[in-house]
Amino acid sequence: MPRQVVLLDAGLGNLGSVERALAQVGAAVLRTSDPEVVAAARTLVVPGQGAFGDHTDEIVAGPLGDAIRAAIARRVPFLGICLGMQLLFEGSDEAGGRRGLGILPGRARRFPEGMTEPPPPGYDGPSRPLKIPHVGWNDVSPEGEHYYFVHSYYVEAAEADHVRWTCTYGDVTFPAAVVHENIVGCQFHPEKSQRAGLRFLRAFLLGGWK
């Protein structure tokens, strides 16, 4: 029997690739935007691309936010991806300051402007500027694998215990993966991270992240 995974379809980005990646590692995926189905999920995945804004305000303050809180309170395995992970925290500086679900303590901050990459040894030209968003493959510590990231905001977690993997971009070291009880969150996109991403999703489904 494949494990049934409820995939929250709340207009937070394309779900197709997350759905396909979960199916690839053996999940039976049920896409839904129905708060009752979300609240009753036995495994819940909240993906997300893009930004905090009016739309996330509606989720946080509405029935879907309650449903996510209810599922998490029932201790079912939960995975938040990218914006879906950031939503777990108290809020974001994005779009004039927005609220999150407040399940984990901490806040999303924007990468600072003007970061540069140290020039290679022997090169005396100007430093190369680092771009925002942080787009591409970066390695996580201590695990060491590369995952695909796309984001301009990162989470500043208030509890160091929640941070399982970190990633560094310029001067900022931020949580790449957070774990707390039944909650897993990843800043990267496992569905776009080839074999490493599929391994990550499989480990989540098998409960290897508890």
Partner: protein
């Protein structure tokens, strides 16, 4: 640290890879789906599909190709070609593209970039910018794009045009419709504008170098990489692995990603070979899976 990306690009016409692809191990070398799957398995950091079809039927076929490719790969997929309206962007994202590249459509209607970036997020809007180097002294963006000789090559009129001491830097003009039309837009200014409008990335192609196998135009790649706050993908002219290095190296093109077509399609090099070569020369790349 963040790695530089290697992006194989497939030009697609009427559902088939153009110029042909000569991999070993593929039964149908012109099939973009099979090619994309192979690149994904080799550890390409991202895959780019460009529609170079001119007909409505071809466009519909392309969306189908995007859907099939997206269903086969587990890395980011950038698609472009003929994107003129919001509905074109919506259709490609819906088919499974992660990012949509807008080229002529952005020049003709800059509001399109603003509109789709606001709607779908900057991270999925790529401005594809094709540029041509103007010869010194005739650098008048606005006139029809002259057939600019590649730098360092002799011209019919005499010696190769070299920037004189009085010229600060060569001037580049944005061209559209596959290089058929000049636009009067200076390249750096246009890139800055299109980023301000909402593009999250620049895919910069040198028309002078495209297809020449002589390497990227490093001057304009570096200039734009330094000028814009978003990632720049170098494109046009890769004929050997050294060109990938030049495009990415500090003091070279300084691009965030290197796009190439023929060196991968013709089986000249594999993605893992390219990664090993770059890593050996100090470029931070993600190692390919074994």
């Amino acid at each position: 640290m963040l790695k530089r990306r290697i992006i194989p690009c497939l030009d697609v016409r009427d559902g088939r890879v153009v110029k042909g692809v000569h991999f070993g191990g593929l039964r149908d070398a012109g099939d973009p789906v099979a090619a994309a799957r192979l690149y994904d398995e080799q550890g390409a950091d991202e895959i780019c599909l460009l529609d170079i079809t001119a007909t409505a039927e071809g466009r519909a076929t392309f969306v189908d190709v995007v859907r099939q490719v997206a269903a086969q790969i587990f890395c980011p997929l950038t698609v472009g070609g003929g994107v003129r309206r919001r509905s074109d962007v919506a259709r490609l994202l819906d088919a499974g593209a992660d990012k949509v590249a807008i080229n002529s459509g952005a020049v003709i209607n800059p509001a399109l970039v603003e509109d789709v970036a606001a709607r779908y997020g900057r991270q999925c809007i790529v401005a594809a910018v094709d540029v041509r180097r103007l010869p010194p002294r005739r650098a008048h963006p606005g006139s029809p794009a002259p057939a600019a000789p590649a730098p360092g090559e002799p011209t019919p009129d005499g010696p190769a045009p070299q920037p004189s001491e009085h010229d600060d830097a060569p001037v580049y003009e944005v061209v559209i419709q596959g290089g058929a039309r000049g636009t009067g837009l200076e390249a750096v200014a246009w890139c800055e504008t299109v980023v301000r409008l909402g593009a999250g990335e620049i895919l910069l192609t040198s028309m002078d170098r495209d297809g020449t196998k002589r390497g990227y135009d490093l001057d304009i790649t570096r200039t734009i990489s330094r000028a814009v706050p978003v990632p720049v993908i170098a494109s046009g002219g890769v004929g050997e692995l050294a060109h990938l290095y030049e495009g990415l190296a500090t003091g070279g093109g300084e691009a965030d990603a290197a796009l190439a077509a023929s060196i991968f399609h013709f089986g000249l090099h594999t993605i893992p070979e390219a990664k090993r070569y770059l890593a050996g020369r100090g470029i931070p790349v993600r190692p390919s899976s074994p």
